[in-house]
Symmetry: C2
Subunit: 325 residues, 2 copies
């Protein structure tokens, strides 16, 4: 059989839910794995948005997720692992492409090697590699998720999202440097800002659940990270302003950017999306719009019988010498 | 007629909901008002836990609430106002006795003078006097409330509270100095602590709604204010430890203290309450236990016909020369 996984994109932070809240987005990474005895270690075939990725296969996030899953289960790594991946998730734009690749790698290992890992273990693996759970949790579970480190481990709790709100994400054609965005954060904050930040994080959970526009407006106006990162994204202020003017409750960075996420009442969402794209177009940036109208599922795994597999993957199957049953 | 109000106690912060989350507690302040033409300005008769209050009537919180309500409505203050108040809310222990008095004063003015203020206006009035809304909102609306300053004003949003959890509050026989407790807060915080604080504020909203014990444990372990205040309350650490050991999800200061609030699964609540009282008793402190098993209503106003009024309030009615109809 061939094991195939499908993992959604995700938008983290949503303003004031810094490093703890994320939501699955309707863009997908798909990958399948072939195990073989040829001692070629890892090889990765990348298509779609992944075509531009230039990382050695043994350092790729698919590989790191795959290896970590084997490690967590105490399993021996197969001699050769070939991963065939494609994705329509923009890379480096704050849409969880890294988390999706890690989760995909871990789930491929789990299923192909029969490791029996739980989704909670997949979350822990992804969080360890990523450093924070906010993209990993929605990639694994779907929907909006709050992830909190507790004395008994990492808890991922599904957040209620009111039916009347929609997410609009404008993605510019340039990535952001996540490491630099994290380095831009200050060492300390005024205590009064930390108090505001906590209230707005609470407002985000409550605003998503109730659809209360005023709470969402406050929640999307983050003080923990956006003020230190927004200057890195050309046109950010104009796009946020355009979203609000068109009726969004607010807009903010998706993750650390470069994409901008708006939350809007359903009846305004078309106008909000158009206004965001237009604002970027005005300064010569051709952004792409992603619209999320309803809850997006989490990662799924399917197994495909060998015949189908061979028929569909003629190019990459040439190196296959052994597969798990 | 006589106007009579009844306002609940409240516990604010609940750990990580600093200055924004509070919950109504089943202890009550009751007050009635008599308006008269004798130019004696304000006089206040205090009974119950209020007996020990030594504040000039014109500076009392009832008076300040009453005056602010008149001011908000653009109404002229009556020549003479006599307030008759009693309360079983411990004073100065972090149970919202101040907020209750302010709300009572404002509601007495609103009803006795027919000011037509909304509950939202009463909340604004109380918040202006208190400096923060976290006790005022549950005093007005009841239940658990998240209060957030938004661009369109202060929003008070009722929080869902899972049926399976109970609140236990141990109240020692000494008050805390709220001003000193606020002065104990630092000017700045490490950014990483602010991030933890935001995640735990989100965990508080979600933990209350779902009853998830691990989320509540994290949420009750505040980093914004408790670390700087707990040393002011003798026995605090022992009481918190006792609550946890007896099965509470966690325990924290009620407001700025001196009372300690625990949140526990219903089946453990009796043991948790007893353990908290015992821990204080061990160091010679006789604390009182308040248990909240279900949602507590907000402030209520009743009007009593004059005959009843005269029959019931013979002592204080001697100075009454005029009442509003």
């Amino acid at each position: 059989m061939t094991v195939r996984v499908r993992v959604p994109a995700s938008s983290s932070n949503l303003g004031s839910g810094f490093d703890c809240i994320g939501i699955a987005i309707d863009r997908w990474l798909s990958a399948s794995v072939t195990l073989h005895n040829a001692v070629s270690a890892f090889s990765i075939s990348r298509r779609g948005k992944l075509s531009a990725v230039r990382v050695r296969a043994d350092q790729d996030l698919f590989t790191r997720g795959f290896r970590a899953a084997c490690g967590a289960a105490g399993a021996v790594l197969p001699a050769g692992v070939t991963i065939d991946a494609t994705s329509d998730i923009p890379v480096g734009c704050g849409l969880g492409s890294s988390a999706a690749a890690i989760v995909a790698g871990a789930l491929l290992a789990d299923t192909a090697l029969g490791l029996g890992l739980s989704r909670a273990q997949i979350l822990e693996i992804g969080t360890t590699i990523e450093g924070h759970p906010d993209n990993v949790a929605p990639a694994v579970y779907g929907g909006a998720v709050l992830s909190v480190h507790t004395p008994t481990g990492l808890v991922a709790s599904p957040l209620a999202v009111a039916a009347g709100i929609e997410l609009l994400i404008a993605v510019p054609p340039f990535p952001n440097d996540t490491k630099a965005a994290r380095a831009a954060l200050p060492q300390t904050l005024p205590h009064s800002d930390a108090v505001v930040a906590a209230g707005r994080a609470a407002a985000l959970v409550q605003g998503l659940a109730t659809g209360d526009g005023a709470l969402l407006t406050a929640a999307l106006d983050d003080v923990l990270h956006v003020p230190f990162r927004r200057g890195r994204i050309p046109g950010y202020d104009a796009v946020v302003h355009a979203a609000r003017a068109a009726g969004a409750f607010g807009a903010t960075l998706s993750g650390a950017g470069s994409a901008v996420l708006a939350i809007a009442p359903r009846e305004r969402s078309t106008g909000v999306g158009a206004a965001m794209i237009a604002a970027w177009r005005e300064i010569g940036i051709a952004a792409e719009l992603i619209k999320c109208s309803s809850a997006v599922a989490g990662a799924s795994v399917t197994t495909v019988p060998d015949t189908t597999h061979h028929a569909r993957r003629t190019t990459h199957d040439s190196s296959v010498t052994k597969e798990t049953s």
